[in-house]
Symmetry: C2
Subunit: 524 residues, 2 copies
Amino acid sequence: MKNFVVHQLLHHAVITYPEQEIISGNTRLTFKTFYDRVVKLANSLSKRGVKKGTVLGVLEVNTHRFLELHYASSMLGAVLHTINFRLAPEQMVYSMKHAGDEWVFVSELFAPAIKPILSQFPNWVYMGEDKNEELSDGSHHFFLYESLIEEGEKKEPDFAKETNEKDIFSIFYTTGTTGKPKGIRYTHHAILHGAIQLFHHLAMHKYGARVSSRDVYMPLIPFFHIHAWGMAFFPLYIGAKLVLPGAADPAHQLELIKREKVSWMNMVPTQLQMLLNQEGFENIKVLTGGSPFASGIAQQAHRAGIQFSLIYGGSDQLATAISVVPENVDPSSPEAMEWRRVGMRPLPLVEISIKDKEGKEVPHDGKTLGSVWVRSPWLPEGYYKEPEITKEHFIDGWFRTGDLGFFYENHSLYVADREGDAIKSGGEWIPTGMLEAVISEYPAVEQVAVIPEKNEQWGQRPLAVIKATEKVTGQQLSDFLLTKVKEGKLAKFWIPDNYLFVDEIPLTSAGKLNKKALRKQYGN
Amino acid sequence: MKNFVVHQLLHHAVITYPEQEIISGNTRLTFKTFYDRVVKLANSLSKRGVKKGTVLGVLEVNTHRFLELHYASSMLGAVLHTINFRLAPEQMVYSMKHAGDEWVFVSELFAPAIKPILSQFPNWVYMGEDKNEELSDGSHHFFLYESLIEEGEKKEPDFAKETNEKDIFSIFYTTGTTGKPKGIRYTHHAILHGAIQLFHHLAMHKYGARVSSRDVYMPLIPFFHIHAWGMAFFPLYIGAKLVLPGAADPAHQLELIKREKVSWMNMVPTQLQMLLNQEGFENIKVLTGGSPFASGIAQQAHRAGIQFSLIYGGSDQLATAISVVPENVDPSSPEAMEWRRVGMRPLPLVEISIKDKEGKEVPHDGKTLGSVWVRSPWLPEGYYKEPEITKEHFIDGWFRTGDLGFFYENHSLYVADREGDAIKSGGEWIPTGMLEAVISEYPAVEQVAVIPEKNEQWGQRPLAVIKATEKVTGQQLSDFLLTKVKEGKLAKFWIPDNYLFVDEIPLTSAGKLNKKALRKQYGN
């Protein structure tokens, strides 16, 4: 087999590490029993008409069943639509229709959400333990997941041998911040290379979220987000134990960590913050990213013995860079801590270019901001059935990320902001992400989002929206920022004119600050 | 660039780690200055007619110049023939003609070897520092390597952008044990994936020759052998320091190790033995393989703080498996030591199958021997211009390695022997490699090769040819082996009938025991 296709990983895993475990809540499988379930499921679906190109939508958290669907779908040559359940209901249905879902797999968790849309999709599979009377009312095809497995033969579909690495393996819908969801399709080749290259790179860097075959992995990033940042593949690839948390809350996540000796996790900073608030969360390796990582959380994580790395990437570019401590920096120094939080090195084979408005490369000087462009062997082809939006972002083999960033002199990347979020004050850019990172160093600041305010003299000026843990005034924050100006961390004109203290800052479906909502609510 | 081609690694390296070093004897380059030399060389060769498909033969040890040729050749779309200088002279010339070498690059080390064949190849490049009057006698095209670089412009050949990952990057000739040299061509895709996958795998296993971006690498495996087992690519890929030893002997290798803080090396067991005989060779990570690894050397290496892993593979299959300590074994135990020496796990994406004479998979029981077959995404297409030999070994996408082996119950692989070397005694196989490994545990045994002797009653019986460090008798060895029979390490009928004590055991060009020569000399 010269191909690199998803279910090939499972073949390798089951031959080489048949006794290795997959834990999903209270379900314990070995790679061998997992494989048997996958084959029977694929066989059963094949008999019911699922074939090359059939789109299978899945509405589920991280469980063994969702993982099984990855490998069964690959054996069938089907397309896995990992439904983004954080989209608004009408957007979710839009994505399911746009992708062409012919089968929808749904767990009991999402049963209430699908009731109104049952008639809109031809085949449903219920992933709960028992029949759900309310859903299976006879007016549509309704299957039980466990019955499908029970009825399946232990025989791989013939198609398993024909799957090609250039075939589409999955599709996922992102919102970005504006407009309708955009679909991105991943080939076997792209998704496997992109995901696994990330772990290869992590394995080679001595500090941070280093991976090894002896670690025990638990992804908190949902499968719908680039297959849990590749966690749907990596533990089987390397023969390591995988723990799937389902819908566990932080307290239950901690129980799983202790019980299964979890040593490596991925999560967004918000999830890390929640876990750090639990007694006894410590000595775990954590890969995080997706939103700015406040130095307060970094310090707290460090004290708890959490070794972390940051990842830069996204659904439309896959993994691009991770934070590393440069070779000349003492890995135990406070400077190294800073590097873990900010300095990104592209993965091998990824090219990153930062361009000014004229499309010229900016100097690597630690300050000149520009647009971040990315090129890699696993870049998707564009947005599904959206030629216009694709043309704006995928140009000459490069992807325009929509991020603003700069290169340090040592060629590490700092991502400062989203292009749409940066504030233009007197003709100069203020990168809000960078400004937020400095403001968040103030102890009482739990979350901060900086948005633009209209200003007659300057065009725009920054407004800082703040969720604080204790009382703090704008004056105190401005004084604090003035000391940071002296340390060279920001320019004086970045200091916000106004501060707004709120109880809650709205987040997007990906757990990022929802600046669009904030601008709508507070901006002008 | 959706391609994965060799010079792409250099682009990545020079952008991301421009100040990282390549040391070659007393020459010190950075990735940046190395890149400049490569581009000027490629430009210069391009102007002189080197183009896509031109075959460039190189006769040189591991130096920066040979490494430069890797990347310049890739930019030109040329084919690098890494000439196997351990072949007999007439075989070497055969390989150069068979490959179609149009240019031959040769260092002063090999000047005497090429004098008789100058007229047979059109273009020569001398890689020494100065002109060589004797060679450049005007009767053929003769260039000086450093002049080519000097004359080159700092402009990549246009072709650099067009190189495709399915293009041939290099060709190499192996002898095996019989017949004329066989050529194997590697595409960019195959050679990069095969090589780098090996290091990815090493990076993930906690013990043994683990790699990281902070290690300093020195390959003793010559570039002609699968590009120094991938070392021509990996340090640039990950941004690590590379030290090239040229023709350094063990004492000078040790000087380089100390001076450049080398922490990771690859070598055959014979080279390891020689280095262990040097005072002060210690605390290095070593990847070794290619011939059975005597437990005496393993013990000595362990005492010197050498962390080693074994690799299984070859020129015609590339990297296939590495030794690892299974998950349930305490990594500090003597048992773990044994595992490092014998238990192989296939690299992810590699499939290994052991078949009996009927082509049926043998049970994984730790003893049933069979033929080792391999399938992987980087398997070569076959032997160059040898359809018949290709048909015997490359079958249905699989490669028949010609090795005999078995699987342990935990699905690790043990390679026991070459199919042609095993002895058939009374209808039962005696795997000589395995028997040699046990005999080599006897302290006075430095090297041992077991070959067949004709025997009227049994067909064949084993004869052990031994190089000893002190006086030892056959009786002592048989007594020793009897204790090993009781430990379950071998069957009683494996114990050799005869022992032959010699001063020197002949080795092949790859440093393996030359059993063909031994059988010719001592067998019957």
